[in-house]
């Protein structure tokens, strides 16, 4: 087991206009479960394949433990990878699939058998060792791919969207199993996904990438509570944070005709800008009686049982503020008595729950409250 370090690691494909991964600096602690997350084209898979040695780094370095592996071929890096389509060898039985790397390394047959059986027991694959991958279900194939990784006891596991081919229910179950297995084995793991729920639930830390740049790396809680910029704020959390561009005055922000007071520190940090982007999460909203808060006209209600989400727009002097092009705001309301479609409710957002971002740079403007230690890893 080892740490993994990206040191200004850059990869630009020949003929591409910009690097797919741009000067990535990231240190993954020994035994840590780090999730690389981002939209498609963000460079997360490329970053993972750089550790594996399947993509050549054009600039910078990759280190596994103390060893600089930048120019080593994959087989000398001692890492195992779980592929999105599992990449099982179709002509080999489950046992041979799992034991292939050991066989290549020249291990004795009975020792291979022992280790494969042990891994199969952990993954509940005992009954399928003699089957071909074709005769397995999607979930079983996924477990064989995991087994192939764990029999080797490698320095690190790399997982490239390993759950994306499973149905929703199995995905949730397997997600927990993988996280539990990783905790048990204590092997450093880098996990790529485009699903922010997977990222939040599995990772010790989550690194969010966009267009090849690292946006933020932090614990799931900190990413959620203190997003560094508008992109992180919008990506993490489901439903997404409400982000609205507002005009500023001397004491706060104007949301339509409604005034949201902002701390003076924030206002001075905004440096006299006339607008800012404010964000608040759907659950940061409180329903209040008429006369208080903002009137909000409900357009759509999604009931999820325990909760309900209401989509709508702020009302201004009896007329709806939102034009057709404007995005609807999302609020969470109690699942037991959700408002009706077309109803007008009154909202209040606590100033503590308001995130302020500079319109110009998209970066967070610190409100100075709710400080949390950032960048912490699991201990």
């Amino acid at each position: 087991m080892a740490t993994i370090t990206y040191d200004q690691a850059t990869l630009q494909y020949p003929g591409a206009e910009r690097p797919s991964v741009n000067a990535l600096d990231l240190e993954i602690a020994d035994g840590e479960f780090l999730v690389l997350v981002g939209p498609s084209g963000s460079g997360k898979s490329t970053a993972l394949r750089m550790i594996a040695g399947l993509e050549a780094v054009t600039e910078g370095h990759i280190r596994i433990g103390d060893k600089d592996v930048t120019s080593l071929p994959p087989k000398e890096r001692d890492i195992a990878m779980v592929f999105q389509n599992y990449a099982l060898y179709p002509h080999m039985s489950v046992a041979d699939n799992m034991g292939f790397s050991l066989k290549i390394s020249g291990m004795k047959k009975d020792e291979i058998r022992k280790r494969v059986e042990e891994a199969a027991r952990i993954l509940d694959l005992d009954a399928y060792l003699d089957r071909k991958p074709k005769a397995l279900s999607g979930g079983q194939r996924q477990r064989v791919a995991m087994g192939r990784a764990i029999v080797r006891s490698p320095q690190a596991f790399l997982m490239d969207e390993p759950l994306s081919n499973l149905d929703a229910k199995l995905r949730v179950q397997t997600r927990t199993e993988i996280a539990a297995l990783q905790r048990r084995l204590g092997t450093t793991t880098v996990y790529v996904t485009h699903d922010q729920v997977e990222a939040m639930t599995m990772g010790d830390r989550v690194a969010l990438l966009k267009d090849g740049y690292l946006q933020q790396v932090d614990t799931p809680r900190n990413l959620y509570d203190r997003p560094d910029n508008v992109f992180v704020a919008g990506f993490i959390g489901s439903p997404a944070m409400n982000l609205v561009e507002v005009r500023l005055d001397s004491s706060g922000a104007l949301l339509g005709q409604h005034h949201i007071p902002l701390p003076t520190t924030t206002l001075s940090a905004l440096n006299g800008a006339s607008t800012a982007t404010i964000g608040f999460r759907p659950e940061a909203v409180e329903l209040v009686g008429e006369g208080a808060g903002f009137p909000f006209e409900v357009a759509v209600v999604e009931e999820l049982g325990s909760d309900a989400y209401a989509y709508g727009s702020l009302q201004q002097s009896g007329a709806s503020v939102a034009s057709a092009s404007e995005r609807l705001l999302t609020i969470r309301v109690g699942g037991r008595k959700p408002p009706m479609k077309g109803e007008v409710v009154h909202l209040q957002v606590s100033p503590d729950d308001v995130h302020v971002f500079s319109t110009e740079t998209g970066r967070r403007v610190d409100t100075g409250d709710r400080q949390r230690p950032s960048g912490s890893t699991r201990v």
């Binding site: 594996a52 040695g53 994959p74 087989k75 195992a80 002509h91």
Partner: protein
């Protein structure tokens, strides 16, 4: 010219029209039958033309050939198994059998190795270079065996030592100071037979390459990457991950080439006419029938050829069915 085109068009029209007319009439005939009989008989009426064609052009000649293989040279009298026993006892026919066996062992395997090698190497070229290389390697297949024989005659040609050498091989040999060799007449170590086999391999390599190249491209890239991460070197990846995954294509190529080998006639006929110990079964058949006018020997030879072919064809059909099922 105009008349020829008109004739061709007429032939096409008459052929298609005739077929339509036959099926139309058969269908009408079926409709004359009462109720349920129409449903029962109609499929057979539709099958009838095809079955009749197969019967007349395939089954009847096969049966007739088997019968004639037990008859004398002019097919006038039955002589039991003596065609077979005479042939198997003659040293010329034994040479033919040994040669045919060597062709069977060497050419399909050689073609596969060659095709696999070219396909693998071409796969590593840039797309445009790959296309060009493949086109050139595929070209011999379009030339045909007789033309190939003519081309290779020039490669193996030998002129007297006093003259300039036209043949490529002898050009090289004399160029480095050796004496010209009459390649196709050297039967020691079966050299001339091997030289003829080279021609067929040259012809078939393109076919093998095209099929195997497509198969290699169909191997999922992530299994190769997985093998690379599993610590396999290029050799292990090729033999343990790529080759097993293209197994069905390998078998298809092997059997197709094998059947071509068993039917090989033109190359040997054009180059040596089976002389100098290079005879193979198909040439022997031809010479027995048309040169020696011995229909009995000729029929016995093809019956033996058929007996060899049947298990191979059966295996191929089984393999094909298994593949269909697993798909």
């Amino acid at each position: 010219m105009g008349i020829k085109i008109a004739n061709a068009l007429l032939a096409v029209l008459a052929g298609v029209g005739g077929a339509v007319a036959v099926f139309y009439l058969l269908n009408k005939l079926g409709e004359l039958l009462p109720g349920r009989w129409e449903e029962r008989v109609k499929p057979f009426l539709w099958l009838f033309p095809a079955l009749a064609a197969i019967g007349v052009y395939l089954i009847y000649p096969t049966v007739q050939t088997i019968i004639f293989s037990f008859a004398n040279a002019s097919s006038t009298q039955f002589i039991g198994l003596s065609n077979y026993s005479d042939l198997l006892a003659s040293s010329a026919f034994q040479t033919t059998l040994v040669n045919t066996l060597l062709w069977i062992i060497i050419v399909p395997a050689g073609t596969i190795v060659l095709g696999l090698l070219i396909a693998t190497l071409a796969d590593r070229l840039e797309p445009r270079a790959e296309k060009t290389a493949k086109t050139f390697i595929f070209l011999p297949l379009a030339v045909g065996a007789v033309s190939a024989g003519a081309i290779w005659r020039f490669v193996y040609a030998a002129s007297p030592a006093s003259q300039e050498q036209v043949g490529l091989l002898n050009g090289i040999v004399t160029g480095v100071g050796g004496d010209p060799v009459n390649w196709l007449q050297i039967s020691s170590g079966k050299l001339n037979s091997f030289l003829l086999m080279v021609i067929l391999m040259w012809l078939q390599a393109g076919f093998a390459m095209v099929l195997l190249s497509a198969a290699i491209k169909g191997v999922p890239v992530d299994t190769l990457e997985a093998a690379r991460l599993d610590g396999a070197g290029e050799g292990a990846i090729f033999f343990r991950v790529v080759v097993p995954q293209i197994r069905t294509s390998l078998i298809t190529v092997f059997i197709t080439v094998l059947i071509t080998v068993l039917k090989t006639f033109d190359i040997v006929y054009v180059m040596t006419n089976g002389n100098f110990g290079t005879n193979v079964i198909a040439v022997d058949f031809y010479n027995q029938l048309f040169t020696n006018s011995n229909a009995g020997y000729a029929a016995a030879i093809v019956v033996m050829l058929m007996l060899v072919m049947i298990p191979i064809m059966t295996y191929q059909i089984r393999q094909f069915r298994a593949e269909e099922v697993s798909r």
